[in-house]
């Protein structure tokens, strides 16, 4: 998929991946998440928690929400909190919120007891996002994080992402909408040269 | 004729009536408990400030 792609990212910095459709932004994120095996090359994480693979330090926030309509909003969130381990390496000051706090913060606290089937697309998206807040992990891999969100929620999302960076977390995000993240680096992928990493 | 002497097959007769009574009791319990639970849900929602959706309230 990619040739000669190489980059490194330190804590507290966001990497925004841009490029035309179909260039492989999503595949890059899925590779980082460990869902697609590396054909060659390697992925290393320095300073992580022992006994954890790099993937276990990451949250993947993809196109799909992983929300079960049959469960209540709270049950959905609590499951992911129980299921995924927290990973708090040295230099990352993240801490997990309680599920209720996370839902309130994202403006869906009033739906906590309702079945998730009643949620709108944007509300499901926010429920999926709340997963990142209840389990602290330093790396956020976000594929088009703003899709289906209204402007107010987009602002909340941006605040959350900047807050994550301030705590020393990393964000790798693929997006078409400009996001005001600081500090930020850009990675522009092009089809012609099959992925040329360029840090700005 | 003694009405409480049900003959050699008393067990079957009693089982029949017992099963019928328990099924009917189950139906009644379903109806009653369901009503109670729904009323609770309605009250909870009304406390949250959601208005009752009263169908088409044209002529009441």
């Amino acid at each position: 998929m990619f040739e000669g792609l190489s980059f490194s990212l330190e804590g507290g910095v966001a990497l925004v991946v841009t490029g035309p459709n179909g260039v492989g932004k999503s595949s890059l994120l899925r590779t980082l998440a460990g869902l697609v095996a590396l054909a060659e090359g390697h992925l290393t994480l320095s300073g992580g928690v022992d006994d954890h693979t790099p993937y276990e330090h990451a949250h993947y926030f993809g196109h799909q929400d992983a929300v079960k309509p049959a469960l209540s909003v709270l049950e959905n969130l609590v499951f992911w909190q129980d299921f995924s381990d927290a990973a708090v390496p040295h230099g990352f000051a993240g801490d997990g919120m309680s599920p209720h706090e996370a839902l309130e913060l994202l403006g869906i606290g009033h739906t906590a007891r309702l079945p998730a089937a009643y949620l709108s697309a944007g509300q499901k998206r926010r429920l999926s996002l709340s997963r990142l807040l209840v389990t602290p992990r330093p790396i956020w891999l976000m594929d088009e994080p703003t899709s289906a969100l209204d402007t107010a929620s987009e602002q909340t999302l941006l605040d959350l992402m900047n807050g994550h960076l301030a705590k020393g977390g990393m964000i790798v995000t693929a997006t078409h909408t400009p996001l005001a993240l600081t500090p930020m680096r850009k990675l522009h992928l092009e089809t012609a040269q099959a992925g040329e990493g360029e840090a700005v | 004729m003694d009405p409480f002497d049900l003959g050699p097959h008393a067990g079957f007769i009693i089982a029949c009536y017992f099963i019928t009574i328990s099924v009917v009791a189950g139906l009644i319990a379903w109806v009653v408990l369901d009503r109670r639970q729904l009323n609770k849900a309605l009250n909870e929602l009304e406390e949250q400030g959601i208005k009752r959706a009263r169908g088409n309230q044209a002529q009441s």
């Binding site: 403006g107 606290g109 009033h110 739906t111 309702l114 079945p115 009643y118 949620l119 709108s120 944007g122 899709s147 289906a148 969100l149 209204d150 402007t151 107010a152 929620s153 987009e154 078409h176 909408t177 | 004729m1 009405p3 002497d5 049900l6 003959g7 050699p8 097959h9 008393a10 079957f12 007769i13 089982a15 029949c16 009536y17 099963i19 019928t20 099924v23 009917v24 189950g26 139906l27 009644i28 379903w30 109806v31 369901d34 009503r35 729904l38 849900a41 309605l42 929602l45 949250q48 959601i50 208005k51 009752r52 959706a53 009263r54 169908g55 088409n56 309230q57 044209a58 002529q59 009441s60």
Partner: protein, 255 residues
């Protein structure tokens, strides 16, 4: 048309509340008389002995099993043709009650069969037809449970109910055919030789009591179903109601 006055769920709820106490009273009295008569007045059958007392619940239950299906079929026509808003509520509620009565008639039938035939179950034409009816009831209930939207589920179930109603005589006929093909009427029929008037009266009273019981349960279940739909729409409203902080936010797609 009187039925149309009760198309409004709120008016239906009020009317049902008014009728129900009377129906419950009649039901209790009818059962008291019916049970008294069937235990103390009815004579033992000269062939079947005391097991004939099973008949007083078995036969009414079997009648009701068929009556419930008729109610469902009528309601289905109401859903599809007249588009009466309460028709699918009625059909849905009748299904569970119908299945329960079918179950009663199957179980009491097989408990009656054990002392009479020496086995709990024979593939007699009548029993088999009732078993098929039972499966159809359960299938309809499963259809209702699986579909999220009650309106869509009601329409789908109405189509299936009507197809079933058309099919039931054919099923009955083919089961009869199949049965006579294999088994030249060696089994004793459940309805016995002839019914003595002393047994007929308690039987009719019990049948009446069971019918009233059906209407009580059906009305109550319909009320519950109306409430359930109310809760559903209110929950949807609850989910959609915006949080106080973002009440003014416009919902524009971010792309």
């Amino acid at each position: 048309m009187a039925i149309w006055d009760y198309a409004n769920p709120t008016r239906f709820m009020r009317l049902a509340d008014r009728i129900l106490p009377w129906l419950i009273g009649i039901c209790v009295i009818a059962f008291a008389i019916g049970l008294y008569k069937s235990f103390f007045m009815a004579p033992e059958d000269y062939q079947q002995g005391d097991t004939v007392r099973i008949m007083f619940i078995h036969v009414p239950a079997a009648w009701l099993a068929m009556m419930c299906y008729s109610v469902m079929a009528l309601s289905s026509i109401g859903t599809l043709v007249w588009k009466h808003p309460l028709a699918d509520v009625s059909a849905k509620c009748a299904a569970l009650i119908g299945a329960a009565f079918t179950f009663i008639s199957l179980v009491t039938g097989s408990l009656w069969g054990k002392p009479m035939w020496g086995t709990y179950w024979v593939w007699d034409a009548r029993l088999t037809s009732v078993l098929v009816l039972f499966i159809m009831y359960l299938g309809l209930m499963a259809l209702w449970r699986t579909m999220e939207d009650p309106i869509k589920a009601g329409k789908a179930a109405a189509v299936l109910t009507l197809v079933g109603a058309l099919n039931l005589p054919i099923i009955k006929f083919s089961v009869d055919w199949w049965n006579t093909l294999h088994q030249p009427a060696s089994v004793m029929r459940l309805d016995g030789p002839t019914i003595h008037p002393d047994m007929l009266v308690p039987l009719l009273v019990m049948a009446f009591a069971f019918s009233v019981l059906f209407f009580v349960l059906h009305l109550r279940a319909m009320q519950n179903e109306v409430l359930r739909r109310r809760v559903r729409t209110m929950r949807q409203k609850a989910a959609a109601s915006a949080r106080p902080a973002a009440a003014t936010a416009t919902t524009q797609p971010a792309e």
